[in-house]
C-alpha cells in the first residue's frame, strides 16, 4: 500500500482492506502513537465538510503529523481560478500526502495522476468516499465479528448516496446478501448493481422497511433529500416510510446493528439512540482509527 493513492474503494484489494481494518484495530487499542512526527499532511477541502476534515485532522494529529491546507475554496487560490491540476502540483511540493474533497466526480483520480505524493479521496462529488467505506467495513466487522455471509439492508436514497455505492462494491467481496429499501425513484443505479451481478450475489428490492428488519444483520440508514424528487408530492408521500422508529426494531435479530454515515436529519428518531442496536456514533469514532491506519499504511510507517 506504500505510496499508493486511495481514490476508489476498488483501488485496494480485499486483502488490503482487511489489513487496514486490522491496523485500525491496533490504533483503537492505542490511539496516540507519534509515528508521523516528521510528516506533513495536506487537507484540501474544495467544498466544506467539517466532519470529515476533523476526523482526518484528528487522525493525523494523533499520529504526530503536521497538518496544512484549507477548509473551503474561498480561502485559497482556487477562488482566483487556479486549476485543480496546478493546485495539486503545487501542494504536492509541500506535503507528504494529500487528503482532498472536491465537488466534481473524478477530481481525486485526476489529482492522483498529477500529484507527486499519494492522494486520499475524502469525497469526489457523488462518486467515491473510500475512507467512509473502510470505516463502515470496520464497524460491520466489529459488531458482527465477521464480514462474510451477512445480510445487509440499505435504506433510503440508494440512487445518489455514494456511501451506499462504495460500500456495496466493497461488500461484494464478502458474499453479502443485499436488501435494498428505497422509493421507486431512488433505487440503486444499474452501474452499482453490475458489481453485485458480476459476483452472482443476491439482492432484493423493497419499498417497505418493516419487512426487512427481521431478516438482516446490519441496517444501514441514509437520508432522503427532498431535492432528489422531481415531484415534491412524491416526496411527501414516501418520506415517513423511511424513518426508523424504535418500535420498528421489536422483532429484529439480536445481533442487528444500525449504521448511518451522519449527519442525520430525521430518518432515525431520537428514541432509537438509547437502543443498544444503535451504532452510528461509535461508527463515527471508528473513522478516526481507520483514517490513522490508512495514513500510516500509505506513508509506509507501519508494515
Amino acid at each position: 500500500m506504500k505510496n499508493k493513492s486511495l481514490v476508489s474503494i476498488n483501488d485496494f484489494t480485499r486483502e488490503e482492506h482487511i489489513h487496514i481494518l486490522d491496523l485500525a484495530g491496533a490504533f483503537e487499542r492505542r490511539p496516540k502513537q507519534h509515528i508521523l512526527e516528521d510528516y506533513v499532511v495536506a487537507t484540501l477541502f474544495f467544498e466544506p465538510s467539517t466532519r470529515t476534515r476533523l476526523s482526518f485532522e484528528s487522525a493525523a494529529t494523533r499520529l504526530g503529523a503536521r497538518v496544512i491546507g484549507f477548509s473551503e475554496p474561498g480561502s485559497s487560490s482556487v477562488q482566483k481560478g487556479e486549476s485543480l491540476r496546478d493546485t495539486i502540483r503545487t501542494v504536492s511540493n509541500y506535503a507528504d500526502i494529500i487528503i482532498m474533497r472536491h465537488p466534481r466526480e473524478g477530481s481525486a483520480r485526476f489529482a492522483s495522476e498529477v500529484s507527486r505524493v499519494p492522494v486520499i479521496n475524502a469525497g469526489d462529488g457523488a462518486n467515491q468516499h473510500p475512507t467512509q467505506t473502510l470505516l463502515d467495513l470496520y464497524s460491520i466487522r466489529k459488531t458482527q465479528g465477521t464480514l462474510d455471509n451477512l445480510n445487509i439492508a440499505f435504506v433510503g436514497d440508494l440512487k445518489y448516496g455514494r456511501t451506499v455505492h462504495s460500500l456495496t462494491m466493497a461488500l461484494c467481496n464478502y458474499n453479502t446478501t443485499f436488501h435494498l429499501v428505497s422509493p421507486a425513484e431512488l433505487k440503486l443505479p444499474s452501474s452499482v448493481k453490475i458489481h453485485i451481478k458480476e459476483r452472482n450475489l443476491a439482492y432484493h428490492q423493497y419499498t417497505d422497511m418493516s419487512e426487512v428488519i427481521p431478516k438482516v444483520d446490519i441496517l444501514y440508514m441514509t437520508r432522503i433529500q427532498k431535492e432528489r424528487f422531481q415531484d415534491p408530492m412524491e416526496y411527501e408521500k414516501v418520506k415517513n416510510s423511511y424513518i426508523l422508529r424504535n418500535n420498528l426494531l421489536d422483532n429484529a435479530k439480536s445481533n442487528l446493528r444500525i449504521l448511518h454515515p451522519l449527519p442525520r436529519v430525521n430518518e432515525i428518531t431520537y428514541d432509537v439512540d438509547d437502543n443498544p442496536k444503535a451504532y452510528y456514533f461509535t461508527q463515527a469514532l471508528n473513522g478516526v482509527f481507520v483514517r490513522q491506519a490508512i495514513l500510516a499504511a500509505i506513508l509506509g510507517v507501519v508494515e
Partner: protein, 155 residues
C-alpha cells in the same frame, strides 16, 4: 458473386493500396473521418455516401490510400459504425477482409456524459473502460459513471 462485388466497389474509384472502410452507417461517415483523424491525412481519400447496400439500404464508404490502420486505432470506429467492414487492398486486389471490433479501452474521442465529471470541467483527456461490448457501455476512468450508446457524444 465476386464480380458483382467488385463492380459495386468501383462506384467509388478503386485504390491501388490502402484500406477500404465499407458498410458505414450513412450518418456516421463524418464521425469515422474525425475519429481516424483523416482530416489531417495528406494522401488520397475517397468518400462515398448514400450508396445502395443490400445489407443496410444505404451505406457510406471511405477509401484511404496507402494507409493500413493499427487495430486499436481502427477499432475505435466500432463505437459509431459497428457494422463497418475493413478491406485491405494491395495492388488493386483484396488482400484481407475483417470486421471492426469494439475495443476494451477508449481514449480521447468520447465525452463523459456526466456534466459534473472533472473531464468536462478541466482540460483532461477522457479515458474509458468498455464494460459491456454488446450494449456499448463505457465506464469513465475518472468519475466511474457509465456512458452508454444513447448518451454518447464525441469530442
Amino acid at each position: 458473386m465476386e464480380n458483382t462485388e467488385q463492380r459495386k466497389e468501383l462506384k467509388v474509384s478503386a485504390i491501388e493500396n490502402g484500406t477500404v472502410i465499407d458498410h458505414i452507417p450513412v450518418q456516421s461517415v463524418y464521425q469515422v473521418l474525425r475519429i481516424l483523424n483523416l482530416m489531417e491525412y495528406n494522401d488520397q481519400i475517397l468518400i462515398g455516401t448514400n450508396l445502395e447496400s443490400q445489407k443496410m439500404g444505404k451505406k457510406g464508404i471511405i477509401k484511404v490510400s496507402n494507409k493500413f490502420f493499427k487495430s486499436d486505432e481502427i477499432n475505435k470506429i466500432a463505437l459509431v459504425a459497428p457494422s463497418a467492414t475493413l478491406i485491405l487492398i494491395k495492388n488493386f486486389s483484396v488482400s484481407e477482409k475483417k470486421k471492426v471490433e469494439i475495443p476494451s479501452k477508449v481514449e480521447k474521442i468520447v465525452k463523459c456524459f456526466n456534466p459534473n465529471c472533472i473531464t468536462n470541467v478541466e482540460d483532461v483527456i477522457t479515458r474509458f473502460d468498455v464494460v459491456n461490448k454488446d450494449e456499448l457501455k463505457l465506464r469513465c476512468h475518472y468519475c466511474e459513471k457509465i456512458t452508454a450508446r444513447d448518451t454518447m457524444a464525441f469530442k
